[in-house]
Symmetry: C2
Subunit: 224 residues, 2 copies
Amino acid sequence: MKIGRLSLTDQIVAELRRRIVSGELPAGAPLRQERLAAELGASRVPLREAIRHLEAEGLVSTEIHKGTIVSSLSPAEIEELFEIRVQLETWLFALAVPRMTEADLALAEAVTAEASASGDPSNWGALNWRFHAALCAPSGRDQAMKLLRGVHDNAMRYVNLQLAVAMDVERELVDHRQLLAFARLGDAAGGAALLRQHIETVASNLVASIDGERRELDARAGAA
Amino acid sequence: MKIGRLSLTDQIVAELRRRIVSGELPAGAPLRQERLAAELGASRVPLREAIRHLEAEGLVSTEIHKGTIVSSLSPAEIEELFEIRVQLETWLFALAVPRMTEADLALAEAVTAEASASGDPSNWGALNWRFHAALCAPSGRDQAMKLLRGVHDNAMRYVNLQLAVAMDVERELVDHRQLLAFARLGDAAGGAALLRQHIETVASNLVASIDGERRELDARAGAA
DNA sequence: GTACCGAATATTGTATTCAATCGAGCCGCC
DNA sequence: GGCGGCTCGATTGAATACAATATTCGGTAC
């Protein structure tokens, strides 16, 4: 029983979002309609509709008669996305903690275990989201979760491209386990504080890494 | 010199959003593609792209082969949108207060004056946004402002339909002037507290009004 | 009289086609 | 030799045409 079949457009949205968030389509990459449509086995019309959807989400940006590119955020904008995450996630987490059931905790633990086991960094962004979502979802704030998901996706694609941050995956897992411990104890305030610090740490590592890379590129450009 | 020409799709998005937020297209109203396209003087293709854009924003929802309707939020979901506004706006306001220039304050005052003068309730939602945006924009958090705008739009269309709340416009203006006073004094904490209370008051009035209307409808349905 | 089935119709989903615009490379002119 | 304009190819924007699906209304059997 397929309860809700997906339109072709929706499938394309999901696929493109996956490619963008995973870094397969890096920031600045152009989305050629004819080629992409052929590659996805569809016509240009549903592809264009999908692009409009992603545009509204902020993942791509279109200039009229020039085409669509994966939108590229400045370090300041990336940092801002993490700030937003801090605001929303700490709030949702604090709401979620007292409502968490054993099943919720088990789910979060399962995701953590999966992340520990899988060394594949390419789907780490998705796992990270699933963990954070599992922590916040019991808040019951579905609208906020939808918003948060957009912010998370938009930020995570930069994380996926930064190996320096990816190498810190061990440290992140430690944080995640500790967050789980706070949740288990019902300590919303303590957990929220750690969550804030956790997100801020990832953000500053990421921005530092991007800045470093940018400096390197500038240096090369200067030398050339 | 027209620097940024708009695609037909973008124009349609703006027009449809206006109609939805203003209440001209109430929640639940179906969007018939052929009719709308003819009415807007365009073909179905750009209209469909516009609909996909609005769908990503959460203003409409589409069911495959059944059509698109203006999305209708439950009272709980509406309340949640206001909760999100509280979280984001109090944060942004507190950031904005120390950065406000005289020009920012003047702008906010001008909007308040305009709102006092104009008795037209139909564009009151837009004015309300302009005021709240003026208070938060100096924070410099453009990404968050974009998010907040979406939330505000989505919530405001219900306000526009509720005369009981619209009648409280005087009280709201009092709050707005008081918020301005806090901003002028540089009292971020005091202003944020008032802002929180302000939004929560509007939310509870609105939800109460919607609940009342719904009960009335149920009663009629029961009588029939 | 009611419930179920089926054809007709309306509406959406997708593909194909045509039109408008932009960018690159070439040519002529200064 | 450099610069401006121009033509051509490529790409997107928009419209038309076709296919698939759902709703509705009428009819028939029970």
